[in-house]
Symmetry: C2
Subunit: 326 residues, 2 copies
């Protein structure tokens, strides 16, 4: 275990990446109006998120929910210090993203052959060849690249993915000079022991390569996995406002790790996320009006731990009766 005490954050900095505006909204049936998306990104910027995955530069027929990527990326108010990233599947997307002044390109492929075929309609080797060109395009433009590797903690169709297989994919991208890698638990199969071991192995092998962890709360383990990651040396996490998101290949799956739940817990533990909890909770509570349904966020429902409740209306009377019996 880490020599520092996991349970005492002691103001250690944890970086929170918001993915709800991309990974969350892309799953929604309802098209969230462009001005509402911009307002949401602006609210998340103001709340202090370190990085925001604003949108995706994909085909508008593939993901109609995000067909307004250019406008959103161009019209958001950029907070100094926040990185505005976007998902990019190919060179065309990269060009669009770079033209829209995206700070960082986020590339995606899966370490599971079956999941990659289902999700991206390509073999992994084909995806890698395509991303090679995207990385070259980004590097020519001087734009940083992050690679999100899906299914690093298991594939919902194949099952376990060996740690060595995950690390081999990280190595291929490290060799290309990308700035960071995100190890994604795409369908909530990660568990703390496994997370601790993989993060420790990554940090030992690539102490300088950016590392982000992306968890889903499908089986209630997202926060525990975040803590296992911190204990193994990680300090950067994807999370989604309201816990939006999911995976079409894993029925019954709840969403991404919920931004306000993770921030709420980490701040109580003394970590410094840089995030204003009140503002993200307000943003989470505004989501149902935008997307037309409730979110999985427990903090949006129950409030923060010291959001106190009034005693029942008859409290004075029942206290009187109790005292009279003394």
């Amino acid at each position: 275990m880490n020599s520092q005490n996991l349970w005492q954050g002691a103001d250690r900095r944890i970086y929170m990446n918001e993915v709800g505006t991309r990974d969350g909204l892309q799953m929604e049936q309802a098209f969230v109006p462009t001005e509402d998306k911009i307002a949401l990104v602006n609210a998340l910027s103001a709340a202090g998120l370190s990085k925001i995955e604003v949108t995706a530069f994909v085909s508008p027929t593939a993901i109609p929910a995000l067909r307004d990527g250019e406008v959103v990326m161009r019209e958001i108010a950029r907070r100094p210090g926040t990185v505005y990233t976007a998902l990019v599947p190919n060179v065309r997307g990269a060009e669009r993203a770079i033209e829209a002044l995206t700070d960082e390109l986020n590339l995606v492929m899966s370490v599971s052959e079956t999941h990659n075929l289902c999700n991206l309609r390509m073999q992994r080797s084909q995806s890698f060849a395509a991303l090679l060109q995207v990385i070259a395009t980004a590097q020519q433009a001087g734009v940083p690249v992050n690679v999100s590797l899906s299914c690093c903690f298991g594939c919902p169709m194949e099952g376990d993915v060996p740690q060595a297989e995950v690390l081999a994919w990280v190595q291929r991208f490290a060799d290309l000079g990308v700035q960071g890698v995100t190890l994604c638990d795409t369908t909530g199969m990660a568990y703390p022991s496994q997370v601790h071991a993989l993060v420790a192995a990554y940090k030992a092998r690539w102490p300088q390569l950016g590392l982000t962890l992306h968890f889903h709360n499908t089986r209630g383990m997202a926060l525990a996995n975040v803590l296992a990651s911190i204990d193994a040396g990680a300090d950067r996490f994807d999370a989604s406002i309201g816990g939006l998101g999911g995976c079409p290949y894993a029925p019954g799956a709840s969403g991404n790790a919920c931004t306000e739940e993770i921030v709420h817990a980490l701040e109580l533990m003394g970590y410094d996320t840089g995030v204003d909890l009140e503002q993200v909770v307000a943003a989470a509570r505004a989501l149902p009006a935008l997307i037309g349904h409730d979110t999985p966020s427990q903090i949006a429902k129950a409030g923060c731990r010291l959001d106190l409740h009034q005693p029942p209306a008859d409290f004075a009377a029942l206290r009187e009766r109790a005292l009279a019996r003394a």
Copy 2:
């Protein structure tokens, strides 16, 4: 931190106490038929739970949902090694429980004056005086006593409860010779740093007194709190099948720590809970038919991490198309 590695369970024994049949069912609007309650307890016994809080011996008008306590306690099939406990509020309840051959009496009061008044209609000093008589009754009959202290991690009306106040209440009951104390997070206010500190303080002061932790998942921290407890030396946890339960004084609160979620995570981490996960998941999935609504259990919905899914029906075709492009 504990000298043992939290992330590697290494077959360390963790004891799971099922509270769904009492703490869960008492909140339900629907009366679960007596024979279904008995079948549920029997299923939980067969699944290997260490202790089961079968029912409560309270006034049938106070908690009509549990008005069949005697019959249930008498007719369950007792598995050797499982402890069958029941909630008991007063001497009359203790006598009924003892007559029904209850293995252990579980007493409840709150460390928060406001919560105790709301929940038990008594001052804490009045509750303590009443429990003193219950403990004497139990001790005369040679029946072990556990005391569940509500609001040990905060009161939803008063806010934080000082650790010294919690420990003072434990001391009063330790002085009376009870067998164990449960530190209850009645409305999901506990967070891992606080849990680690309180459990460590308890274990340092009362290394021999039984200790159980009772968490709610109101703000998504139940599993993280269990792990913090284990790291501080605890090994016994209350949890509720399906995540049933809640607290009427904390609107929006989701239920108790969910038995199958905690067991699923701990078993993956290499701990030995003695619980057959498949059997508790089956019991959880049978609950909606008994109580007339869905439960918060994420494992009941999503399945265990290696419950794999079939690729989509057109998988062979899309694979062909991908290969043709190579």
